[in-house]
């Protein structure tokens, strides 16, 4: 073969340095918004109420838990504004669980797109997380309305809500990225995740205050592990913002670090196998 000048050529499979990769992601930011909007629009397409289900679904869930835990079991002892307390827990926990579960399916559900076009695959879990955030935005405005109606009123703590959402989102996105790669390798993951989240829900004080059991019924190693649970701490932060309940400053700092760490790890973990997502 003749020798040719190849100085202007680059390999199609060269892994981009992180900075260039992030630039490619940024160039396609409109894609990362358009896809989730399309997903949200089509989600309840075949139902009578259509997009109203984005509100109806969480409201019904609150009604169920309020009936069981608030009325029947009276586990609301010692909690003021139990209905609001519960609503915050459910909305915020759902954001995490649906982001991670949706993230898990984001690669396997988009084989068509992946086989047709080369683009940074991280955009797929990102677009799931964005779509969940849009739903969450609707839920938050509902929550703000409830808070006003119930006479609790909105406080200046609300100014810190974006920071709380940022911490929460970095945790969710990290989880979505990890779940996406795991599920691409083992489809079983998608089956396991709902059970893990059911367990996590009880350990995060979503529907009853597990915080009150720490140091009493729950002691020793179990207490240390549960105390670290970032989801529980993040829910505490939202409750602090809306209701002014107690929040642990040290735990908040740890939670922020854990959430950023999970995002950092998730991004690297996802990218390390990105080259093969189009295969098979």
């Amino acid at each position: 073969m003749e020798t040719v000048d190849t100085s202007n050529l680059k390999s199609v499979n060269a892994q981009l340095p992180t900075r260039e990769y992030l630039a490619e992601m940024w160039d396609r930011r409109d894609f990362a918004i358009a896809v989730p909007l399309e997903q949200l629009r089509s989600e309840h397409k075949n139902t009578l109420l259509g997009n109203l289900w984005h509100l109806g679904n969480p409201l019904l869930m609150i009604a169920v838990y309020y009936f069981v835990f608030g009325k029947l079991l009276q586990s609301n002892r010692g909690i003021d504004n139990f209905l609001l307390w519960l609503t915050i827990g459910i909305f915020t926990f759902r954001l995490t669980s649906s982001s991670v579960l949706g993230g898990a399916a984001s690669i396997t559900n988009s084989k068509g797109l992946i086989r047709a076009i080369k683009f940074p695959r991280t955009l797929l879990p990102i677009s799931v997380v964005v779509s969940r955030l849009i739903s969450f935005g609707i839920e938050l405005s509902l929550l703000a309305g409830f808070t006003l109606l119930s006479g609790v009123g909105l406080s200046r703590r609300l100014l810190l809500l974006p920071v709380v959402i940022l911490i929460h989102t970095s945790f969710n996105l990290g989880g979505a990225l990890i779940a996406a790669r795991l599920n691409e390798a083992f489809r079983d993951v998608q089956q396991i995740i709902p059970f893990l989240f059911r367990l996590l829900m009880y350990l995060s004080g979503v529907i009853f205050p597990i915080q009150n059991y720490l140091g009493e019924q729950i002691t020793g190693l179990a207490m240390s592990v549960i105390s670290l649970n970032p989801v529980m701490r993040i829910i505490d932060l939202y409750r602090w913002v809306f209701l002014g309940t107690a929040v642990d400053v040290g735990a908040t700092a740890k939670t922020t670090l854990i959430s950023l760490g999970i995002l950092w790890f998730g991004f690297r973990y996802f990218r390390a196998a990105e080259w093969r997502y189009g295969r098979a």
Binding site: M1, V4, D5, T6, N8, L9, K10, S11, V12, N13, E24, D27, R28, D30, F31, I33, A34, V35, E38, S42, K45, G112, L113, I114, R115, A116, I117, K118, F119, A185, F186, R187, D188, W275, R276, G278, R279, A280
Partner: protein, 250 residues
């Protein structure tokens, strides 16, 4: 004088590892796939060639010869097992089998496809009418993609893939499914790209199409290069190979 190199493929090997029947599940990984049906399919076994700017290269070969794998590899969608693929610009692949978002309308698929290729929302807004006119799909654009025939889908994909005037265009069987009017239109669009010093790699089973469209033909058989050169000659060699193979099997 020779034009600069657009694509350089060097000793490209590509193996698929497939687990039989289905995707490997956790159980198989845990039991160290002993006795499970893992098979390695060697789709490409050392392919090398260069494509220059302005070249229009047809790729022919029997079913399963590795043509589509080659194209997906050049697009960067399938990583080679060994060897390298060098390009002067990001190649854009247009595959007829590809489905973007099956549940979304044709309009949505155009805009999301263009955004995935790197257009901004404003650029899409500015061009979407032209792209839609080019597809000639009319009111069908309001329907979800899964209701399209393969020919309609190919039109949409072709329009999206060529909207950004890629320097290197890869086409996999896409044009053969279009009707005559669309074939003419797409031929004109490809000529435009080639005039702007682009390069085209075209996989097709239609030997006439390959001969008309290409100034060079590459013949791949069982993952290896069997012919490379003037379209008339290579197509003739391939035809007599097919005739011999059919004669043998009957």
């Amino acid at each position: 004088m020779t034009a600069p190199i657009a694509v350089s493929i060097r000793d490209l090997h590509l193996d698929y590892e497939i687990s039989e029947d289905r995707r490997a599940a956790l159980r198989e990984r845990l039991v160290k796939h002993q006795g499970t049906g893992k098979r390695v399919v060697r789709a490409l076994k050392g392919v090398s060639f260069d494509v220059r700017a302005g070249d229009s290269v047809g790729i022919i070969g029997s079913n399963g010869s590795g043509k589509s794998t080659l194209l997906a590899a050049v697009a960067g969608l399938l990583p080679p097992t060994s060897g390298d693929i060098l390009v002067s610009a990001e190649p854009k692949l247009l595959g007829v089998g590809a489905t973007l978002l099956p549940g979304a309308t044709g309009w949505k698929n155009i805009s999301i496809g263009c955004m995935a290729l790197g257009m901004t929302a404003e650029e899409v807004d500015a061009q979407i009418e032209d792209i839609a006119v080019f597809t000639d799909l009319g009111e069908a654009l309001d329907r979800p993609l899964h209701t399209y025939s393969s020919g309609m889908r190919a039109r949409l994909h072709f329009a999206v893939a060529t909207a950004m005037s890629p320097e290197i265009l890869l086409i996999d069987e896409a044009l053969a499914v279009g009707d005559e009017a669309f074939k003419q239109k797409s031929a004109d669009r490809i000529d435009e790209l080639l005039e702007n010093a682009g390069a085209l790699l075209l996989v097709s089973h239609s030997l006439n199409e390959v001969r008309d469209r290409s100034n060079r033909v590459i013949w791949i058989e069982q993952g290896r290069l069997r012919g490379d050169g003037d379209p008339e000659t290579v197509v003739k060699d391939y035809r007599s190979f097919v005739t011999r193979a059919t004669a043998k099997s009957t």
